[in-house]
Amino acid sequence: MDAFGRRCAAPEDADMTPDQDGPSGPPEDLSAFGQKLANARKQEESRRLWRKDTNRPPQSALGLAFRVAVELVSAVAVGLAIGWGIDAWLDTKPWAMVVFIVLGGAAGVMNVYRMAAGMSGGIGYTRENQTPEATSADTAREEGKDGG
């Protein structure tokens, strides 16, 4: 299983077969087969990368609206809980809660913005077009754009 991208080298595959088949297998055929296999794998790889753009789950308008609502409300709820906790701890009744509900609302809007911008949601989510193997230059460019 090479699902993680561990590609077995094609020549190794080719070397395996003569041991089983004996000397009858002509090596030209095997290297041609190895070449074909490598090509097919490359094709599959590019097809997979192409699919990557559409890797997100299909979202209906309702599903998207629901996600937005959940992101907004959950951030406000967390803000509320933090504010309430600080109030109970420092005995500063309503003030921390007031501040943190507003901050929670801001965090919720930011979650939604990140989701809509294709960064798919909460804090620091990976950018859609940034592969984990992206070069540091790419990352720097992305981050520069982010700051603007």
Binding site: G124, P132, D146, G148
Partner: protein, 244 residues
């Protein structure tokens, strides 16, 4: 409508075996029963499918390999090769949620993913685990998580709390999404099914058509929500491993 046929009756927790450990109610409920059934089904599916592990897979084995490949590809696409050690965990989550949702589609069954207690417990442990991975991997650099790159330092007092709240809201949005989708879908099914009876022969066929269509939709949602839950776990893991 008679009692016990309320659209929400299907979500009631019923104790099957009373267990009390030191004053803590640890009873075996219908929810536990369906979790056990889910684990048993997944185990049977995977172990049974790979029993012979033929080079050319049969139907059953292909299904097992397909589900393996599906998650392995998802991890590779979202996390990269560093995500490989976490494959068993993510695969377990996916299979557990998916099969749990599918068990819930059986008439008279119980959908444990429609309970916030279950989904939040899962999301909470994912959240804790991912945070610990991030701290173990990046030590104090982990705190840069809460300061988006390229932001002037004056903005920090405002932005850092916002980012922290945003980070803490993750387990909530993760769990609420799964639980609310399952709860709403199953309630809707039950409500429309109730209409069939109350409208009778005359107009009952109309909600019946809806129920048939909704059942199909529910199967899609059951799969989709398991997928979304898993891919979000992958994204969180990716953040933990790569930070910004």
């Amino acid at each position: 409508m008679a009692e016990g046929h309320s659209p929400l009756a299907q979500f009631e927790i019923k104790k099957l075996v009373d267990i009390n450990i030191a004053g803590v109610d640890a009873s075996f409920t219908n929810s536990s029963l369906f979790m056990v059934l889910t684990v048993a089904t997944v185990t049977l599916f995977l172990v049974g499918g790979m029993r012979r592990s033929a080079l050319v897979p049969g139907r059953w084995q292909s299904m097992v390999e397909l589900s393996y490949g599906f998650i392995a590809n998802m991890i590779r696409d979202t996390v990269g090769s560093e995500g490989r050690p976490y494959f068993p965990f993510i695969f377990t989550i996916f299979m557990f949620v998916l099969v749990g949702n599918m068990w819930g589609m059986m008439p008279y069954s119980f959908t444990f993913t429609s309970h916030i207690a279950v989904t939040f417990a899962m999301a909470f442990f994912i959240f804790i685990g991912v945070t610990l991975i991030a701290i173990a991997k990046h030590k104090l650099h982990f705190l840069s998580f809460f300061m988006p790159p390229g932001v002037p330092i004056i903005m920090a007092p405002l932005l850092v709390p916002i980012e922290i709240i945003s980070y803490l809201s993750r387990p909530i949005s993760l769990s609420v999404r799964l639980f609310a989708n399952m709860l709403a879908g199953h309630t809707l099914l039950k409500v429309f099914a109730g209409f069939i009876i109350s409208l009778g022969i005359a107009a009952g066929w109309l909600p019946f058509v809806f129920v048939v269509a909704l059942t199909g939709l529910e199967f899609v949602i059951a799969f989709l929500q398991a997928f979304v839950f898993t891919i979000l776990t992958c994204l969180y893991l990716n953040d933990a491993l790569h930070l910004h």
